[in-house]
């Protein structure tokens, strides 16, 4: 009735209501259809939080499962400059600078950025974090990150290597096995409340895959023994550099490996590039008398000489081509064995002249000089071994005694270890195996026979001769009371400005012990020692200390293992 009585008014009200509903429908359509993706994204960002999950970088162990490198949690500090006032920035700069020791100017520069996120300092010490957190500075936050930790400090630094601040390996095992160590990142999507706080409710989760662990053949204790012995000589003789490598000659497992100068893997920037260089594989030098093992063993293998054969050493002066070859200590008649024991240059040259340049070259190649050992370390070089077709008239008086040829320390190790191993050359290696988080072994390093260099009977004779070097010859300072040892000394003149120096030498000793059942093959080289420079004087005692303590340690370990 009312509607019939007032049609205009009714129509107007109806129209207004209809108009309002239409507006609402249009607005809803705009929101639901045209702006839906934008608004959904915005809501998603407000309600959900995607967090990247960092995997645990794999641990590097020694052969006894002692950690040499592992991850620790540290805090990194960031700032949100956009929400900080100028006064806050100024006071924050002062406070942070005092705590972490960073320059105020550098911090202020970071806070000048027009961003919501700016790193101030990554992976700060725990004490600094706790102090700064307690200050509750506005606009300053902390993020948890992992950092590499090396419990042994600089021990085995050139083997273990180091990783950068983003846990990417840059040298050593950290670099060479980075693809196993780094793992795979995961992801988690958490719900957030209205105050943007993460709740413990996951919408989505991809588990990170932690890195695999690498177990080395190194023995932490033998590594310390070797480095301690090397350090003593390095400091005593004010040397420029030094190397020591210890290997099991029967398997090729490297038990210790060290260079001097060295560096701290947790602070590589504090050291020079030279300190970080793995000189045992990357630096070459003329080996000097240690190379005489090549000539002598070749002569025995060819049947050209016997131990008691007489060789006249020309009383210290011998013309080779147009060059007069000299002995440090002039000798007359020596037996073949004594030539090696006394390290007569003239005696060895005459041995080489008898077997010929081609045979010297052949045996040098058998010992893998002039080629890599394939130990698997970055930067390994071949060294230099000239083919006899390029030798000069004086080369027959140089190459057989370790001149005009360049080698690396690891090549010398391969040579002495093959003599110790009854003439069989084993490939040196330093990674025992790689395992995943479940303990399953994914890769295994194993002993690898490369070649037979000498017949077994010849190797045994060579061992006896080298034992004589220690018992009676130039390496008497390497002699031990209860342990038999064999080896060869080397005192090589360095080439300076194209000529052999009379003041700069490389003092070496390569050897193995015990002779009857070699357990350790060791090479020690010390670059530019002074005032003493003879291999037997400088490097021999390092070998002795390394062998004595290592064998005592191994015996104790064996007893503990065999104990009922």
């Amino acid at each position: 009735m009312y509607f019939q009585k007032h049609p205009t008014r009714t129509g107007l009200v109806f129209f207004v209501i209809l108009f309002g509903l239409s507006i609402s429908i249009i607005k809803l359509s705009m929101i639901q259809i045209f702006h839906s993706s934008f608004l959904t994204d915005k809501a998603d960002k407000q309600h959900n939080h995607v967090v990247e999950l960092e995997p645990r970088r794999g641990t590097i162990y020694d052969r006894n499962m002692h950690a040499l490198a592992l991850n620790v949690l540290m805090y990194s500090m960031y700032a949100n400059p956009m929400i900080m006032s100028d006064e806050e920035k100024s006071s924050t700069v002062t406070q942070i600078s005092q705590v972490i020791g960073m320059s105020a100017q550098a911090i202020a520069q970071k806070l000048e950025k027009s961003k919501h996120f700016a790193w101030i300092a990554r992976k700060i010490p725990q004490e600094a974090y706790e102090k700064l957190k307690g200050m509750k500075l506005h606009g300053i936050g902390f993020v948890k990150e992992s950092k590499r930790f090396y419990p042994n400090g600089a021990l085995a630094a050139h083997v273990v290597g180091f990783a950068n601040i983003d846990n990417v390996g840059l040298q050593g095992v950290e670099y060479e096995y980075d693809k196993y160590l780094h793992g795979t990142r995961g992801m988690a999507e958490f719900l957030r409340d209205a105050r943007q706080r993460d709740l413990l409710l996951e919408k989505d989760f991809i588990e990170p895959k932690d890195g695999e662990d690498v177990v080395l053949t190194l023995d932490e204790t033998i590594q310390f023994i070797a480095e301690n012995a090397l350090d003593k000589a390095f400091k005593k003789y004010n040397a420029k550099a030094g190397t020591i490598i210890v290997m099991d000659p029967k398997t090729g497992e490297v038990l210790a490996f060290a260079n001097r100068p060295t560096f701290r893997p947790d602070a590589p920037d504090a050291s020079s590039v030279e300190s970080r260089t793995n000189r045992a594989v990357a630096f070459v030098y003329e080996p000097g008398s240690v190379f005489k093992i090549v000539t002598a063993s070749g002569a025995l293998e060819e049947g050209a000489f016997k131990e008691e054969d007489d060789i006249f050493c020309e009383n210290g002066h011998y013309l080779v081509g147009n060059h007069i070859l000299k002995d440090a200590h002039p000798k007359g008649h020596l037996t073949f064995q004594e030539v090696v024991e006394e390290s007569s240059n003239i005696g060895v040259t005459k041995i080489a002249q008898k077997i010929g340049a081609n045979k010297v070259y052949e045996y040098a190649r058998r010992y893998r000089f002039g080629m890599k050992t394939n130990i698997g370390m970055m930067g390994e070089v071949n060294g230099l071994l000239k083919h006899p077709s390029t030798w000069s008239k004086t080369s027959i008086g140089a190459v057989p005694i370790g001149q005009e040829v360049t080698v690396t320390s690891v090549q010398l190790l391969g040579m002495i270890a093959s003599v110790a191993n009854d003439g069989v050359y084993m490939k040196p290696y330093y990674v025992k195996y790689i395992k995943d988080n479940n303990g399953a072994v994914t890769q295994v390093g194993h002993p690898e026979v490369v070649s037979r260099v000498l017949r077994k009977d010849i190797a045994l004779r060579m061992k006896n001769i080298l034992k004589g070097v220690v018992d009676r010859g130039t390496a008497q300072l390497a002699k031990m009371k209860d342990i038999t040892a064999a080896g060869k000394t080397g005192t090589a003149q360095k080439v300076v400005n194209g000529t052999y120096s009379h003041s700069q030498f490389v003092a070496s000793f390569i050897g193995f012990a015990p002779v009857e059942d070699p357990k350790l093959a060791i090479v020690v080289t010390i670059d530019e020692p002074h005032p003493a420079y003879y291999g037997g004087v400088v490097s021999g005692p390092v070998f002795k200390e390394g062998v004595e303590d290592s064998l005592k340690y191994l015996a104790t370990k064996k007893e503990a293992r065999d104990a009922p």
Binding site: L70, V72, G153, L200, N228, A555
Partner: protein, 127 residues
């Protein structure tokens, strides 16, 4: 549809809706509590991690070696087999010898002595 049936349906639907919302709130409440506990666990894990790393550093060969052997005047050295003397005797230990001697005379005294000196066999002395 009768009004009473409609009201019953509405009541049930409303009840279910309120229950759902209540449960959702509970879930969020547990999430907050869980977050607090997670933070506590993380703190403890961090402390544990730091202690573990300190232990690793202290027990490392580098640290122990430098402490014991690094000093030139250090009197420590690796144990050597040559410094261990092993003494082996057919008649076992002295207490057992006494017990054996007492037993041979027989009687109550031998049993008391043998019980009193029942000791494990020792084979090595070191000095």
């Amino acid at each position: 549809m009768k009004i009473s049936f409609f009201l019953k349906v509405m009541f049930v639907v409303t009840f279910m809706a309120v229950l759902y919302i209540h449960l959702q709130m509970k879930i969020y409440d547990f999430a907050y509590q869980g977050k607090v506990k997670q933070q506590r666990i993380e703190q403890l894990a961090e402390v544990n991690g730091r202690v573990h790393n300190d232990i690793l550093r202290l027990q490392s060969s580098d640290n122990i070696g430098r402490e014991l052997l690094g000093n030139q005047d250090s009197k420590f050295q690796f144990a050597s087999r040559s410094r261990v003397i092993e003494v082996a005797s057919e008649n076992t230990t002295l207490p057992e010898m006494i017990a054996h001697g007492a037993q041979s005379t027989g009687g109550f005294l031998s049993r008391v002595v043998s019980l009193a000196f029942a000791a494990p066999h020792e084979t090595a002395l070191s000095h």
